[in-house]
Point group: C2
Chain length 437, copies 2
């Protein structure tokens, strides 16, 4: 089965754990069997591979998320990268063209498109497989997954099926309604549209060629910035008559707010936290190294990262966005394909960062125009290359690099270093990359 996972969003709703470059699907919050924690992305990817070890999973995403995806899923995960953001129709088309032209999937094969961030049980992926098989039959051009609604949500579009059988044709779609209207839809047997659907590759490619002038994947990729922003629902689903819907009645949760996310946590805390015995219904997620102590509070989420600290009533937490919009701040931590970094200190003309490289990984070979850098290795072993000169480095080694100097570090073991950046105009954009000579 071919599965495209749509990995989008730049979540402000889960601040401070999500930020401009870390979306909610990357937050490691779900307990694994070995006692560690995994993210929504890791959980979904693992669940798919457990349900169908032969599934071909491609993650359709933006440039900004590629490093985090590589960091969490490894180098072997297939990723179709959008050069820029152009809503779901261009994104899905690009991913399907990637499947066809790069991965060699034939036009007659089915593909299932689903968002990466629902919180689901393993049985969901059996339904996903089933959806693909139904699409392969060719009874309809599109097969949607209709999710059994658990409350009259105002967040979802509703699918009105023609009958109550497990697979049926679709009578009509309804846009996100108000609560009262949603209740009416539900009493009429309506289902949530969670954005999960299957079809043959051919269907998407043909529709796309009607709407976009492009040759193949490479051509579409080159033209991507010129495409109109348009959603798949608007460009395709609303104009399609031959649609089936398949009912899914299992657990399906959109963990988009702190309130819903904490409901899915197995324990009341992740990270260094002491929850006093006078607390009730309190969840603490702490990504800082210092303890959080909470006493005598109820129905609350407390969350801390290098970006900031949130203390909120759980229900109120869904109104977080305007507050976070006002908190303008540089990115204080990020996952990279080679590891991660965290800002430790910011001064007017300097910034101190902790850099962690995974074993066998290396940064791009690069230079900066406007800043000097000093590395002090604090853990592990590796090699630096500075203006073409390679040397072994280990704990205590200091490497000073002036602006303009080309440099990289290669981790032979897990390697950590403190990087002090020095200059008047320190910016993440001040970076020129070079091939390694």
């Amino acid at each position: 089965m071919n599965i495209v996972l749509l990995s989008g969003g730049s979540g402000k709703r889960l601040w401070p754990l999500s930020n401009d470059i870390r979306s909610k699907q990357f937050i490691k919050i779900f307990k694994t069997e070995d006692g560690g924690y995994e993210s929504m992305l890791q959980r979904v990817y693992r669940q798919i591979r457990q349900a169908d070890p032969s599934a071909k999973v491609t993650i359709a995403t933006s440039k900004a998320q590629v490093s985090a995806i590589r960091n969490q899923l490894g180098e072997n995960a297939e990723v179709s990268v959008e050069p820029c953001r152009r809503d779901t129709f261009p994104a899905i088309t690009l991913a399907v063209a990637y499947l066809h032209d790069v991965m060699g999937v034939t036009e007659e094969e089915p593909v299932v498109i689903c968002p990466v961030d629902p919180y689901v049980e393993d049985e969901y992926f059996k339904a996903v497989e089933e959806l693909g098989r139904q699409a392969a039959k060719g009874e309809a051009n599109l097969v949607l997954m209709g999710i059994h609604p658990t409350y009259p949500s105002e967040k979802y579009g509703y699918i009105i099926p023609d009958d109550t059988s497990s697979i049926s044709t679709v009578s009509t779609f309804k846009e996100k309604p108000d609560e009262k209207t949603a209740q009416e839809y539900i009493s009429q047997g309506a289902l949530w549209n969670g954005g999960v659907f299957a079809c043959k590759l051919k269907y998407i490619l043909d529709t796309a060629h009607e709407l976009i002038d492009f040759e193949d994947y490479a051509d579409l990729f080159d033209k991507y910035a010129e495409l109109n922003k348009i959603s798949f629902d608007y460009a395709v689903v609303e104009n399609e008559k031959k649609i089936q819907v398949m009912r899914y009645e299992g657990q399906w949760k959109d963990l988009g707010t702190w309130n819903t996310l904490t409901e899915a946590m197995e324990e009341n805390s992740v990270g260094n936290a002491v929850i006093g015995n006078t607390c009730q219904n309190v969840h603490v997620i702490n990504e800082l190294n210092v303890p959080i102590l909470t006493m005598g509070v109820a129905d609350m989420v407390i969350s801390a990262s290098p970006e900031g600290i949130l203390v909120s009533d759980k229900k109120q937490s869904s109104y977080i966005k305007p507050y976070v919009d006002d908190i303008s701040q540089q990115v204080m931590f990020a996952e990279k394909s080679w590891g991660s970094f965290r800002v430790l200190d910011v001064e007017n003309e300097s910034m101190t960062i902790k850099v962690t490289l995974n074993p066998g990984c290396r940064m791009n070979y690069h230079s900066h125009r406007n800043r000097d850098e000093v590395w002090t290795v604090v853990s592990g072993e590796g090699r630096t290359i500075v203006d073409g000169m390679e040397q072994k480095v280990t704990v205590g080694d200091v490497i000073a690099m002036e602006a303009g100097c080309r440099h990289t570090v290669i981790a032979d073991t897990k390697l950590k270093l403190i990087e002090v950046q020095l200059g008047r105009e320190i910016s993440v954009d001040d970076k020129q990359k070079y091939p390694l000579e």
Copy 2:
């Protein structure tokens, strides 16, 4: 007037802003006229000097607090340092011997002893002056300040006066009572004993010579570790017949818990904080560089420092101590006589620290047995001395020092550096000091 301020305590009740080396009196929480913040210590010191510019103020404290006192009050503040902690009778005796033998105060002059941490209005210091003048009259050996009780507290001892005049003799003392008994005392006209009293120097010196075998200040200082731990109340007050009490009816608050401390805050937040408009009676004190956002909560104190984060119902916050006892952690920040430091990162064999030196200040000339250090100057200008070699340093300079190497840095302007400590046994005790050659 001679005033001895007793600066003691190692506050766990105001964690994470107080820790093993920072007591509550050093927390900068009170808004000043110029828009900055001052600590209880700075506030009391300023209030005394405003009330009586000629007052001779001596701060009696332990070694551990000297650096913070110098940092907050400057080099000119008179400090009588206890070599170790021996409760209030030895501490007061040592401070009074310091006044007599070092500062040349005569035996007939009065001295007022008061704790450094009550939160009071300026008029309190008029009462302190008055207390001193009353002691100078010699009508009694001791004159206590009797604080008008505002509620039947179980925290204070009670003074029962003989009559209701503003100055009267004392009938008896009552130990800390339960609430009901306290209420009875108050209805009988009892006053709180806040530990504020005045007497002539001679009285304390004579009493001390009866109880302790010592010659003078220097001798007492040398013998200090051998002295019994005993409180002034127990050693002196309870055995003295000629005691007067002077009523003080103005504001006098003991800001020993988050609940009482936040009552004294002028605004609801100190530091980087966003308090949502659905919050009620919330106080945020944030000493971290990242924002705290709070939404939909009530009657709460939120406090963050490099040591940790507290989120507590205000009333519950008085039960903090056992929780903090369980949070064992190294000291993450400290004020020093020359500036301050903050731990940025801890690894198995390294620790990264940000060091800030005030203009004109320098560290001790010192070496470490078990760790190398790397300094990178990130702000300001100064000079380093490394194994006797002095050199100018400025932003971007890197100084690598191996274990055993003697070193210091002198700040010509405010100077900040990132210090990476490297070694298997990193400890604050690993420090040998040397005179500057």
